[in-house]
């Protein structure tokens, strides 16, 4: 059981690249530098003011060993503390949690976290297949699409979730992305267009799936004393929880019960004093790798009962004007630079609390939720608040 940190920690700034499918104009460290500069500008700070950097990505995607070393040049963090945390899809949220722990420990006052991926310089599916056991699992591993197709089919079968309900998630999130200057896919779609898009693996169609993106995200975590000086309205971290699961796919419960997310959100809600998430949270940024996943995650995060994810999207509760807007940024369906993806969830949740969301701002946000997904169906959860 995790507790809240002894020292208050806040997110005081965020910076993102404008995510694209290919960024041939920059190399990896130049791309990181873009996010770092934007983050420092957001805080009106320079690298001089930062005590240390925590960085991560999927090393096999670009084939760079020790990226934390090369990226010192991109971050401009010469002779500062540095650390690399990598946990697959949850890397970005693991980094955000690491930023929180760094400052909460009392050993650091200001820490920058950086998540990045340049998927155009590697082969994502090959990289993903390499996570499977070489003897028992690799021959049947088909990257992300196959495993989501299997779980989506089971989810539909068990609860009667429809392809139309899933398609609504694609329409909602891509439309939200129209308001996000950083988003990669900004599309004004209809449910029919999603249903008619190319079948990848039943029931997952092209527009049900997240893209592959090039991009980076940086954030600054600060102690209470520093945070109050840097920002008038920082986003306080009031809960952080991680749950990992079994290594083999066959041992996992993939259907409508992401048990790591259920367990992690239950604990996080307890720490943050949240009783009814749908009512008590004002906005959520969920790591939805495909449309079906968002519906299933609603259930695991306690926004509705088991099997009610389809009904929840039908009710409009998770749209921008609904009771709990989910993924105002456009979510993972609109942007997926993997090592940054889960950090973008935390950054966007912080942006909402700080009131810096521009056209994607949800009014009067007091508490926001961010989740990370990855590994073998692992989850990270962070809850942010306007007050410490």
């Amino acid at each position: 059981m995790a507790r809240r940190s002894k020292r208050n920690v806040a997110i005081v700034a965020t910076g993102q690249t404008d995510h694209r499918s290919k960024r041939p104009d920059v190399n990896i460290v130049e791309m990181i530098n873009e996010a770092v500069r934007r983050c420092l500008d957001d805080a009106h700070m320079t690298m001089e003011d930062i005590d240390g950097v925590v960085i991560g990505n999927m090393e096999h995607f670009e084939g760079i060993f020790f990226t934390e070393m090369w990226s010192v040049d991109g971050a401009g963090s010469f002779l500062k503390h540095g650390m690399k945390i990598t946990t697959g899809g949850t890397t970005g949220s693991s980094l955000a949690l690491a930023g929180y722990y760094h400052v909460a420990s009392g050993l650091f006052d200001t820490v920058m976290t950086i998540g990045w991926e340049k998927q155009s310089e590697g082969e994502t599916t090959a990289g993903l297949i390499f996570q499977a056991d070489p003897l028992w699992e690799r021959a049947t591993m088909s990257g992300a699409i196959g495993s989501f197709a299997a779980s989506a089919t089971a989810y539909m079968h068990k609860y009667g979730i429809t392809e139309e309900q899933a398609a609504k998630v694609a329409v909602k999130n891509r439309k939200n992305a129209l308001n996000n200057p950083h988003a990669h896919l900004k599309l004004d779609l209809t449910v029919e267009q999603v249903l008619k898009s190319k079948m990848l693996a039943y029931p997952i169609k092209m527009l049900d799936m997240c893209p592959t993106s090039d991009g980076a995200c940086a954030m600054i975590f600060a102690s209470e004393e520093k945070a109050k000086k840097i920002s008038q309205n920082p986003a306080w971290v009031i809960a952080g929880v991680t749950r990992h699961d079994q290594p083999f796919g066959g041992d996992l419960e993939m259907v409508a019960n992401l048990r790591t997310l259920r367990s992690a959100t239950e604990e996080a809600y307890k720490i943050a004093g949240i009783k009814e998430p749908l009512r008590d949270l004002d906005v959520a940024e969920l790591y939805e790798p495909c449309t079906f996943a968002e519906l299933s995650w609603y259930e695991a995060a306690g926004f509705c009962g088991p099997g009610e994810g389809g009904k929840l999207i039908d009710s409009g509760a998770t749209y921008m004007d609904g009771e709990l807007p989910v993924n105002p940024s456009g979510g993972v369906l609109s942007t997926n630079c993997i090592g940054a993806t889960a950090m973008i969830r935390v950054a966007e949740a912080a942006i909402q609390v700080m009131g810096k969301g521009g056209k994607r701002q949800v009014p009067n946000v007091n508490r926001s939720l961010a989740t990370g997904f990855g590994g073998s169906w692992w989850s990270d959860v962070m809850i942010l608040s306007r007050t410490p």
Partner: protein, 382 residues
């Protein structure tokens, strides 16, 4: 540090050049279950797990995914540090100091025998400008050794003396696999790998794992009669390109040591530290790191080894365990330095025990030519 973190138990596999009968989850299970057993604890007593491994060495994307059952992280909090093990110890300690968790099981593993050192270490260099030069760890460390020897007059014989000392110390330690009695002449004629590094100046390919239990002061005292306290801890990363640094003076190590000493209240390391476990992937590194950490003036570490100051029975024993030269895997190496220093301070180091050791230093590094450095000060529990 207002709160203190203590190390209450450590466990290592026997290190071997090729563990053909154990997969790495099996190595992780061995050290995780044994460290809990030896300290009389259950996995339920651990609030969280920090793992330490490299996707590149494991040949697996998300290398910590494979070991979740083995380290007991199913439906629990776990995270992975993909650097040298000393940085993983740093992260585990800071997660405890945050107040979010009271305890931590830390597990580090690597099976070097399953990877290609040249290909893996070549991948740490810039893909556009440096990889095509054929750079790997060995080649660039040889350049660093040359620069250090040129600038300060350190000799190949002095480096060989480090190998002689460490390989001999290793014979008293049951875990490493390449310990031996060897002469300076034998090291000098052991076969050139990359001038001036000879075979016995370089660490051997090694498989193994190391686990450790860390806890906040209150729990540490409950769980162990003699916990070892972390009283200073710091890391620094230098610039990436070798041409941007003076390789004979590792600025990141100097700054990390200064910060760690400051935290621990150490003003004269030579007088106030009783033993050092440092990361000697190559023999010259022991000398260069000793200078960087202020145990002697620049260029004077050669004299230290010649005078026997760093011998097991010397004034400042360095690598009584036999060090990495005797055989520890990369990544795990830094965790082993901390574990070995902790064993010394617990009085459990057996035949290589430094009598009366009260304060020890563990150092780890990773990246090209020691770009990233981590220094940890440990003190005997009272």
């Amino acid at each position: 540090m207002a709160d203190r973190v203590g190390i209450v138990g450590v466990y290592q596999t026997k290190y071997e050049s090729r563990k053909i009968f154990d997969s790495y989850p099996e190595l992780v299970f061995e050290v995780s279950s044994k460290v809990l057993e030896e300290t009389g604890l259950a996995i339920e007593d651990m609030d969280q797990i920090v793992t330490n491994s490299q996707d590149f060495w494991d040949g697996r994307t998300i290398s910590n995914r494979t070991v979740s059952e083995a380290c007991g992280s199913v439906l629990r909090a776990e995270s992975k540090v993909a650097m040298d093990g000393s940085f993983a110890v740093f992260y585990a300690a800071m997660r405890i100091l945050s107040g979010c968790y009271d305890s931590c099981l830390l597990v580090s593993h690597c099976k070097m025998s399953e990877g290609s050192p040249h290909l893996i270490n070549n991948a740490m260099f810039d893909p556009l400008y440096q990889r095509i030069l054929g750079f790997d760890e060995l080649a660039t460390c040889a350049m660093q050794a040359k620069r250090y020897m040129y600038k300060y007059g350190i000799t190949e014989e002095q480096c060989a003396q480090v190998a002689v000392k460490n390989l001999q110390n290793g014979k008293k330690n049951p875990y490493p696999h390449r310990a031996m009695d060897v002469t300076v002449g034998q090291v000098m004629s052991s076969g050139m790998l990359a001038d001036p590094i000879k075979a016995l100046d370089a660490y051997p390919i090694t498989d193994g794992a190391c686990a450790m239990i860390l806890a906040i002061e209150e729990k540490a005292r409950k769980w162990s009669p003699k916990p070892v306290w972390i009283t200073g801890i710091a890391s620094r990363l230098d610039s990436f390109y070798l041409g941007d640094r003076d390789l004979a003076e590792v600025a990141s190590l100097e700054l990390a040591a200064k910060k760690a000493y400051n935290m621990a209240g150490v003003t004269n390391p030579r007088q106030e530290i009783d033993l050092v476990e440092l990361s000697d992937f190559y023999s010259y590194q022991e000398l260069l790191w000793l200078e960087g950490m202020g145990f002697c003036q620049r260029g004077k570490a050669g004299e230290m080894i010649e005078k026997g100051i760093t011998a097991l029975n010397g004034e400042l024993p360095v690598n009584p365990s036999g060090g990495i030269l005797s055989g520890n895997p990369v990544t795990v190496a830094g965790a082993v330095r901390v574990a070995e220093a902790a064993l010394q301070l617990m009085g459990k180091a057996g035949q290589h025990q430094v009598e009366g050791a009260k304060r020890g230093l563990a150092q780890g590094h990773c990246g090209p030519c020691g770009q990233g450095q981590c220094v940890i000060i440990l003190e005997r529990g009272v």
